[in-house]
């Protein structure tokens, strides 16, 4: 019997570590299963903490639940059934196609033996023993694998370019794990849940291009991922999967970790290299591409975590098997982080070609509290908002680009009718302004001006020609920026303008925020018929703007009101409304 607890960062935050410790203590001397083991995140974040007993899944297990599970295991009377995952949730999990997430939440990420039992390092062995580099690159070409970091560039092409780059014996493989996109945590989950898959993918890529050194550039904000990677690397060295003469061949390869220092722009290849070299992470003009001149001026291949995690599966099952999944122009699967106003938030992996509706209302379980679906933001600060009317758009690189959004790295933030789209655009611009490296004037100053206009509109100071100004400035920023950060920064503005222009007009012309989200545009009012005169709001109002005597309807002085919205949340009778 095997008992496992999902200990990803999110699981731990939900209290899974407490459950884990408790189970360990209680089951220490219990021979049928022994203490519980660790797994990574299975992706059902809305059900954390999750405990597996063989094939049975128990969810939202608090301390009380953990005791019930102990009783169950020991054959005592228990209430464990009430923690069992519903058939529907299990079905949703089964409806996914898991390749990159295959082992996440299944194996113990801190055990190389468990990874090996799941055919781990077999693909690397196959490459090193039975294939030459051309065959490896050809297999990746057949698979149609494209970069999962956001741009969707064909992986084989990058590998081939680095392989064919002449003039240097020294080459590098870099894994881009600087996942900075707010609302995305796919790479974190893979690194925490199945670090060996990434190492194996890097090993195969290194063999294909002829590199002997690999570097994983990982966000410092992911301490657990770093710990698990360090363990995985040292285990792989012990087993001889990293080091000299791997699998008895004459191929040598080793990997080290470099912790990033917190700069979103370092997700851009040339900025990442500048950061690795110890400088400010500022992008430079391409060409030369990293494949020709990368780290230390040597040919370098950079792929994203999820891209590498797909590679061993492709080699084991063949490129054609991967290409059989997905659509004409987008092959394989994609991992998405479903967050925001979604009912069943978490991590999902689905075949390319599913519609947005399939994801949001299928695996995502629809919108929280049965509110209406308004839009989904894809691609983070570089992407855009896709409105609910386009819910039948299929998820592939081409169709998403046609909407003005992008596939991106996999963040899917779902919004309902309480989300203001102008405020969303303002939010992303605020992010890009803080993260712009400052090299290009259009990105540094232009985005700042965009943000100021959006802040003005959200604050009630919108002017007649603001929309035209936003559009004009956006186009100029796109044209005048060197790297993807600047070139895509106006996308959230342009897509919200494209699909939600009426909201901008409402803000500017009528000084109204229909989502009731922009506080400066709201007025608070008490409905006398509903107010019981309980005095709670008057007592709690930070501005003393509410007056009235006991058991008589109160009133809000709009001159004094600071629009904090506290009274609305406090009122037990729904007597306070915003207009």
């Amino acid at each position: 019997m095997r008992v496992t607890v999902g200990l990803g960062s999110c699981g731990i935050a939900a209290g899974a570590d407490k459950v884990f410790n408790l189970l360990n203590k209680e089951l220490e001397d219990f021979t049928p299963c022994g203490a519980s083991a660790v797994t990574g995140c299975i992706g059902m974040c809305y059900l954390e903490p999750i405990v597996n007993i063989d094939d049975d899944v128990y969810v939202k297990v608090d301390e009380e639940g953990a005791y019930e599970l102990v009783k169950l295991l020991k054959g005592q009377k228990n209430n464990a059934l009430s923690y069992k995952a519903s058939a529907q949730d299990i079905e949703l999990l089964a409806s996914q196609t898991r390749i990159a997430l295959k082992n996440c939440g299944v194996i113990n990420p801190e055990s190389i033996d468990e990874y090996v039992l799941k055919d781990g390092y077999k693909a690397a062995e196959k490459c090193l023993k039975n294939m030459n580099f051309e065959q490896v690159i050809e297999e990746i070409k057949t698979s149609g694998l494209a970069g999962r970091g956001g741009a969707g560039f064909p992986t084989w092409f990058k590998w081939n370019a680095a392989r064919n780059s002449v003039g240097s014996e020294e080459k590098y493989i870099i894994c881009n794990a600087d996942e900075g996109d707010p609302g995305a945590f796919m790479d974190r989950a893979i690194l925490e849940g199945d670090p060996h898959a990434v190492l194996e993918g890097m090993l195969i890529a290194a063999f294909a291009i002829g590199a002997n050194e690999g570097i994983i550039y990982v966000r410092a904000e992911y301490p657990l991922a770093i710990i698990r990677l360090e363990k995985a690397i040292s285990q792989a060295r012990q087993k001889g999967f990293l080091g000299k003469n791997i699998f008895g061949s004459d191929f040598n390869f080793d990997i080290r970790i470099k912790a990033g220092a917190g700069a979103f722009v370092c997700g851009e290849e040339t900025a990442l290299i500048a950061s690795l070299e110890g400088g400010r992470g500022m992008p430079r003009l391409k060409p030369p591409f990293p494949a020709q001149k990368g780290f230390k001026g040597k040919p370098t291949n950079i792929n994203n975590v999820e891209t590498f995690a797909n590679v061993p599966w492709i080699i084991r099952n063949g490129g054609e098997a991967f290409a059989a999944i997905g659509t004409e122009n987008s092959k394989g699967t994609k991992v998405f982080a479903l967050t925001g106003k979604i009912a069943k938030g978490g991590l999902v992996e689905v075949p390319m070609g599913w519609t947005i509706k399939d994801v949001v209302f299928g695996v995502g379980g629809g919108i929280q509290n049965n509110k209406s679906f308004k839009a989904v933001q894809m691609g983070g600060p570089s992407g855009g908002c896709i409105p609910a009317v386009l819910e039948n758009v299929t998820i592939d690189y081409k169709s998403l680009a046609e909407t003005g959004a992008i596939m991106g790295s996999g963040g899917m933030v779902v919004m309902d009718d309480t989300t203001c789209m102008v405020d969303m655009a303002r939010f992303f611009l605020d992010f890009t302004c803080k993260e712009s490296c400052g090299k290009c004037t259009h990105c540094r100053v232009g985005n700042r001006r965009l943000l100021e206009i959006l802040e003005r509109i959200c604050g009630g100071g919108g002017k007649d020609n603001d929309i035209e100004l936003l559009e004009e400035l956006s186009e100029e920023i796109k044209a005048g920026s060197l790297c993807a950060l600047g070139q895509t920064a106006p996308n959230p503005v342009l897509t919200t303008l494209k699909y939600f222009k009426n909201e901008y007009e409402d803000h500017i012309l009528n000084k109204k925020c229909t989502a009731h989200s922009c506080k400066p545009l709201l007025t608070y009012r008490i409905i006398p018929e509903k107010c019981t005169g309980c005095t709670l709001c008057a007592r709690k109002c930070p501005a003393n703007a509410i007056t009235g005597t006991v058991k008589t309807p109160h009133v809000i002085d709009s001159e004094k009101c600071v629009k904090c919205g506290d009274c609305v949340k406090l009122c037990k009778f729904d007597a306070i409304v915003t207009t």
Binding site: S9, C10, A14, G180, P182, A220, G279, T339, V413, F431
Partner: protein
Amino acid sequence: MSCNCKNEPRQELENYLENGNKTESDLIPILQKAQEIYGWLPPEVLSLISEKTGIKPAKIMGVVTFYAQFRTKPVGKNLILLCQGTACHVNGSADIESAVKGELNTEEGEMTEDGLFTYNNVACLGCCSLSPVMMIGDKTYGKLTKESTVRVLNEVAKGVKA
């Protein structure tokens, strides 16, 4: 502002700097190590790094100010990281920030008078399904409301004082 550089941490950093041939490409790990030792990067420490490695002070300052991780001001005993990721924003992280600000009576990046807290807004912490989220030390607090935020702050403060 002078730091409380006792000899011990200085010795630890010096040992680290003298161990192996540290070059410009090691600057970020060096700064990360220094911050791990001191909690922040006091000017004297930056001078020491420059002296020992030969990296120009301007280059060091350039890197320190570029990355969000590096702090040029002392921080409180508890560093609060307030997640401002998209999911947290959609689920009301602005309210959480105002609660923290109000309760601690401080601005972002500034240490509270009692030296107990500093809060920083950070990009996504990757716990989106628990949004809004904050981290204090290495502990993550999820599904926050204004009330629960204040409660957590009080508990942490009590724990430190006790």
